[in-house]
Symmetry: C2
Subunit: 475 residues, 2 copies
């Protein structure tokens, strides 16, 4: 397959080739920033529509805060500024003049949002505030990769305010579950829900939860985060409300976000050496129909059938007939394979006679002949099967490459060799975590939420440990 490097030869180049061959994005003339091309953006629109619907169903409303944050606001929360300082883009001049105070291009919006929430929240009757915004953010990066890490990216950031710690924790976990559902039920990406260690949590948060997915190189990709901010920001930005008893209390907050990084996760979860593979629920085009003919006489009958098929399945799915006369069928197959269209329908003279069509599923690259009469049902079933198969395949891949390890020697061997997720006991000491990272480059991705309370001895220091952690090298 010309044009796409094989995964085993150069995984990183394979990833870039997939994006460029599917025409999803490219590097822009602005260092570290990307141009998201229409095919890539259509996938982002699908992700956005799914999440936006789920946010609204869980009671959230959208709003919009300014792109700029006064520098003094960012500096208010100590951990927050420490975490983001190396990544800030600074506006120093506006309207031809030097500004009195520098403006930061938002790397995340806690500082500007909390300063406004302080005015909005007066009484327990004002709570909860359940808001989200879709926006662009900027985090200066030295090394960038399309979708995975870019200086500017698109994301959503939810920012909620609550009247109790329990309610904030409930919200944090609810949105983590929304992210899991988006990843698994729509993107066919199997994920682990877990808690971040102190060293990996969001700068300024009380607790950070994330969904973590395994990519095909067996590295972990953090695909969404949900933070219980506790009262940290409320205390700094003075978000106080009068409770039912008439006393002033600091509010409890959460924030949660996913970004265009999810497109990187999608690409690396399913694609193969032929190009992009998309689960139907993410595909900008579900079905491509390719007429196969030698003479113009044949063409007219075949096109009639193609149009009829498009009309029938076009009610529910996005269908494209590729009737270009400048390309041969083989070239068309190749092109749509690279774009990951889930189903290809071929209609040729023989098919016409037999009142059949050929269906090719992109994920397994297998063919089947189907009667034209039942084609709509067959396609619908096939789309559902592709969606399900991709998720199962992805889950199985992670399971097969996740190892319970209780010996540091085995642990080190794993990260010198095949890679994967290691499920290990960990004493909770950040020093062990740091040493492990130094020696193996593996970090704690999450303390998985199902059964993380499990007694054992720390993989590094051998001390008593109460939790299990998932270690991996990460994007």
């Amino acid at each position: 397959m010309k044009g796409i490097t094989k995964r085993k030869d150069d995984y990183s180049k394979w990833y870039n080739d997939i994006i460029s061959q599917a025409d999803m994005a490219e590097h822009s003339p602005v260092k570290g920033c990307m141009v998201i091309k229409p095919y890539g953006y259509a996938i982002w629109e699908n992700i956005r529509n799914i999440l936006d619907k789920m946010f609204k169903e869980t009671g959230h409303e959208n709003l919009y805060f300014p792109l700029f944050i006064p520098e003094s606001f960012i500096r208010k929360e100590a951990d927050h500024v420490e975490g983001f300082a190396p990544h800030l883009a600074v506006v120093t001049h506006g309207g031809g003049k030097k500004l009195e105070e520098n403006l930061i291009v938002r790397p995340t919006s806690e500082a500007i949002i909390c300063s406004t929430y302080a005015k909005w929240v007066k009484s327990y009757r004002d709570l909860p505030l359940l808001y989200n915004q879709w926006a662009n953010v900027v985090r200066w990066e030295m090394r960038t990769r399309l979708f995975l890490r870019t200086t500017e990216f698109l994301w959503q950031e939810g920012h909620t305010v609550h009247g109790s710690c329990e309610e904030a924790e409930e919200e944090t976990l609810k949105m983590l579950e929304v992210y899991r559902s988006c990843a698994e039920d729509y993107m066919a990406i199997s994920v682990i829900k877990g808690l971040k260690s102190e060293s990996e949590k969001f700068a300024g948060a009380l607790r950070t939860y994330s969904i973590e997915a395994m990519m095909q190189d067996k590295k972990a990709l953090q695909s969404g985060t949900s933070h219980n901010l506790g009262q940290n920001f409320a205390k700094v930005f003075n978000i106080q409300y009068q409770n039912k008893q008439g006393h002033l209390e600091y509010a409890w907050q959460t924030s949660w976000g996913v970004s265009t990084r999810l497109i990187g996760a999608l690409i690396m979860s399913h694609s193969d050496d032929m190009g992009l593979v998309l689960p139907p629920k993410m595909a900008p085009i579900h079905i491509v129909i390719i007429p196969i003919y030698k003479t113009l006489e044949e063409l007219s009958d075949i096109m009639e059938v193609c149009r009829k098929i498009k009309e029938d399945i076009g009610i529910k799915y996005i269908v494209k007939i590729d009737d270009r006369d400048t390309e041969k069928p083989g070239a068309k197959f190749f092109e749509w394979e690279k774009k990951g269209v889930p189903i290809r329908v071929e209609v040729g003279p023989k098919d016409l006679k037999a009142k059949e069509a050929v269906l090719v599923r992109r994920d397994l690259n297998t063919k089947s002949r189907v009667s034209l009469e039942t084609l709509t049902v067959s396609i619908e079933e096939l789309l559902m099967d592709i969606q399900k198969t991709l998720l199962e395949k992805h889950r199985k891949f992670r399971e097969e490459n996740t190892f319970s390890i209780d010996n540091y020697g085995d642990f080190k061997n794993l990260y010198e060799g095949e890679e994967g997720f290691a499920l290990c006991s960990w004493c909770g000491n950040p020093e062990c975590e740091a040493k492990i990272q130094e020696e193996t480059k593996a970090t704690i991705r999450a303390l998985p939420m199902d059964g993380r309370e499990e007694a054992g001895v720390c993989i590094y220091c051998g001390k008593t440990s109460k939790v299990k952690a998932i270690f991996a090298k990460a994007y």
Copy 2:
């Protein structure tokens, strides 16, 4: 009506009161930037969804270009930089270091998009490119007003490339028509389509068209612009393609945009001294149902009916039952009036007995009693009537305040007194245009597209004139 200044007392304060009382937006701590609150943002989502659908139906795809533009790119097109230089926000530092080249926060994206299009366009087979992006832009402003003029605003910008001047002109006019349709058919804002004079056109364009609406203070608000860029940017950014004959040609381009300013137009087109008035197709909530009761016994029967009504009309419309027991009905009426909800349904004990409900339409503030049996149909008809009535009222207001004037004395009197649109002959000389502005503050809003070729003598200099122009004071 406490809380909202009357239009006749202080129009500008009235506008601000409407926004604050309907809880649509507020000034942010960042100078010149606004916070768009959920109720205001929901209106923007309605506008965006309508336009996005129309863009896609006319063959356009969405994509996304970087927020930042290298300073040298902006400087390439002479008129462009001259037009935008006073409004630029400049990033000079990133990641803790001074940048080698300053980055401009996009005021509009021609410069970054054209530099990329130059790589994408090689042959006539690559054309047309029909792309749009939804984005935030920044134009430094000294005097800002919520929605109407803010340093950061949200908008869409279409950027297309074509193989001929005719095709670019056709696209320019097609998108102008899309904007007219959005304004009139959805926002109930009657607009004039017209061509801008040279002095008012977009910096770098060949020709700019716009839709212009009359606000209730009889000033004009430019509500959308569509530019035929000719080959200006193609020559500067070197966008060349090989035509069918094998020769290299510069491409022809268009760009077109509308912004959150449209929300300002919406507010000022329909609202009254009681608050916001919204056409149903723009309303985040179509119908509010208010139960009226004295005893808790009454409440239970009434709530049952309210819920049944919501269930029936909730299939097609967004319905809210306001069953708060902390507010009296009068306070609730007042609150939803301020938010411009098109229809209020009142259900009280008497209505229940008569198997009726009271409908109150927000635009005319008139009541009618309607049988519960036919309520759904009545509401549907009423919504359609409100939509139509608002557009007709708005169109009539402009027509009544547009004057054909052929005498400069009358012209000056108009702008010292009642204001309005003046339809006058104009010789085409920018000096007459400038003098008129200097002496009256009225500017040419547009050369209207229906019948602008009409012989006469210039309102200012008396020389022969071929065109009619609409003059007005403008936002």
